[in-house]
């Protein structure tokens, strides 16, 4: 009995919620649908005028259609009497559906509900946009105002002839800015000053950063911020901080986030001008090519002297070895040739290839014999680099080696070898034509290509 009661109660609640949700009109329709029996195509007079059905208009339209059909010779005398059937025959299920739903007021209710909901949505979005814009503008105005104020205070600080009491006054005024927002504006202004001024002004900016305890703001960002804030904090420390912060920055060289790692590397370099590549030995993540580019430009724009790199060429990371070889080549570190030559025996073809390119750039002639000896066992890219390097080292006793490449080499090897011989001397060109006879005209196309004046820059 209890169970029955519970089922009854649940059924009642369901009906109430259902009624509230769908509305009384819907229940009526459901009831009508339950009681529905197949209509015997009621006459038009029985069809009530509803929301989307105008009986008079329908009659007029039907009369017009009948007139047209009569003109076409189609018999349709019963159309008026059974217009409903006529429509059904025209549109089938579609019209029967329209007949059923268009006459219910619940549709209007739902449409109105939808329209209200839609308008509410639009209104809430507009309100959010207006409020966000207002907040953004307020922040921008505040930032602009404070920045202007701080610039006014700081600008005398960049000159050498500032009296001590004037400097102390500036520091005193700036200590009045207590909020984090204001401190961040001061940091931004100081960084900008550091970018624009050098010498005494630059030293003073760093001192101001310390005196105002702004490094604490940067350190807080590094410790507790998102990856972006961590990157910004590292940059601030690197620009304005002292070498003492290097140990703090070192912790982020192996950060989970790539951007933070890159920023930490660059910051480390800026703070340690004695050994800017010291971080390489502590790398746990693979060194990406983007980092090498960033490092190069950081060195270039900040005038960082390249440190000795040869001792790091046995680094376990392939990308680091490649990076160091490129840097040795760019900075023309001639004292690294011995270590670079060892890279010709590296297990990775990429490193061997880069080593050949570096030795070529350093113009280390004595390596020619080793390169020639390694040639047969090398892969195609390294072979091509060796042939290109021979351009700088070629002598008379190398001609037989190059001719052998013309005879037995791949398409690219033959091309490089032909270029090499042709450029070597008039004798080299003679040898090429003799070789062409020997090879039954197979290299004539290469010789013509190389000899063509328009291909001079290619050859």
């Amino acid at each position: 009995m209890k169970k029955f009661k519970w089922v009854f109660l649940r059924g009642g609640i369901f009906v109430v919620i259902f009624s509230l949700f769908f509305g009384w009109g819907q229940i009526q329709e459901i009831q009508a649908a339950i009681n529905f029996t197949e209509p015997e195509y009621p006459f038009l007079e029985d069809v009530p005028s509803g929301l989307s059905f105008d009986r008079e208009l329908a009659l007029t339209e039907a009369a017009e259609i009948e007139a047209r059909l009569t003109l076409l010779g189609v018999g349709s005398q019963d159309l008026i009497k059974n217009l409903s059937e006529f429509f059904r025959s025209l549109a089938g299920d579609f019209f029967s559906f329209v007949d059923k739903i268009s006459l219910g007021y619940s549709l209007l209710f739902y449409l109105a509900l939808f329209a209200i909901f839609f308008l509410l949505n639009i209104t809430s979005v507009v309100i959010v946009v207006i409020i966000s814009n207002w907040i953004f503008n307020r922040r921008a105005i505040y930032h602009k105002y404070k920045r202007k104020e701080i610039i006014e205070i700081v600008s005398p600080y960049f000159y050498d002839d500032l009296e001590d009491h004037e400097a102390a006054g500036i520091v005193e005024t700036l200590t009045q800015y207590k909020s984090l927002k204001d401190k961040q504006i001061i940091i931004d202004v100081l960084i900008e000053g550091k970018r624009n001024f050098t010498g005494e002004g630059s030293i003073k900016i760093k001192a101001l950063y310390q005196v105002l305890q702004l490094h604490k703001v940067s350190l807080h960002k590094i410790k507790y911020g998102s990856w972006y804030r961590r990157s910004v904090g590292l940059r601030e420390l690197a620009f304005l901080g002292r070498r003492a912060y290097k140990t703090e920055i070192e912790k982020y060289i192996n950060d989970n986030h790539q951007y933070v790692r890159t920023e930490a590397i660059l910051s480390y370099m800026l703070l340690d001008d004695v050994n800017p590549f010291g971080f390489l030995m502590d790398l746990k993540y693979s060194f990406v090519r983007w980092d090498s580019l960033s490092i190069y430009y950081t060195m270039y724009f900040n005038g960082i002297e390249p440190p000795p790199m040869a001792h790091m060429l046995n680094h376990s990371d392939l990308q680091v070895r490649l990076f160091l070889l490129r840097m040795i080549s760019i900075y023309n570190q001639l004292d690294a040739v011995r270590e670079v030559a060892k890279c010709l025996l590296d297990e990775h073809a990429e490193v061997r290839q880069e080593a050949v390119i570096t030795l070529r750039a350093l113009e280390y002639y004595r390596i020619k014999v080793l390169m020639k000896n390694r040639y047969i066992n090398e892969c195609q890219p390294v072979r091509l680099e060796i042939l290109r390097s021979m351009k700088h080292f070629i002598e008379d006793d190398d001609i037989s080696f190059i001719e052998e490449r013309v005879r037995k080499g791949s398409f690219d090897e033959v091309f490089e070898a032909v270029k090499l011989l042709y450029k070597f001397s008039g004798y080299g060109e003679q040898r090429l034509w003799l070789l062409d006879e020997e090879l039954e005209g197979r290299i004539a196309v290469f010789i013509k290509h190389v000899a063509e004046p328009r291909n001079k820059h290619v050859a």
């Binding site: 610039i151 006014e152 600008s155 005398p156 000159y159 624009n196 050098t198 010498g199």
Partner: protein, 129 residues
């Protein structure tokens, strides 16, 4: 054509065209301290209006600015306002082509950022004399 201020008894006018508010403020502070009258503009377009209708003794301009850059401004001043007024260009560029071009179009001096604030002051005084 020539808008150079020849009145030696009056304050000399220095026009600074620089979109960086910090740099322009620092320059303005120093120039005013050194006894010059200073006019500051954010870009070339704004400066031209002033330069066309007022006399001035020195123009200091950044090279990279919105609306009208420094090169265009120098060309305009040399062709339409004054062929002799000293012009100093400021930029962070190290490109030789750009620097060479600046002198070709009529700049008298060029200073690369970052620079010593004191050095700039000395150069300005030398130019204006």
């Amino acid at each position: 054509m020539n808008k150079v201020n020849l009145d030696l008894s009056s304050k000399k006018t220095v026009v600074i065209v620089e979109d960086n508010d910090l740099l322009s403020k620092v320059l303005e502070y120093r120039m005013e301290k050194d006894g010059f009258q200073v006019e500051v503009f954010n870009n070339g377009e704004e400066a031209i209006e002033f330069l066309s209708s007022n006399s001035f003794d020195l123009l200091i301009t950044d090279l990279y600015m919105p609306f009208m850059n420094g090169s265009e401004l120098i060309k305009y001043v040399r062709n339409n306002i004054s062929a002799t007024v000293p012009i100093m260009a400021i930029s962070s560029t190290h490109e030789e082509d750009v620097i060479g071009n600046i002198f070709n179009i009529g700049a008298n001096d060029f200073i690369v950022k970052p620079f010593r604030a004191g050095e700039l002051s000395v150069r300005i005084k030398r130019l204006i004399r």
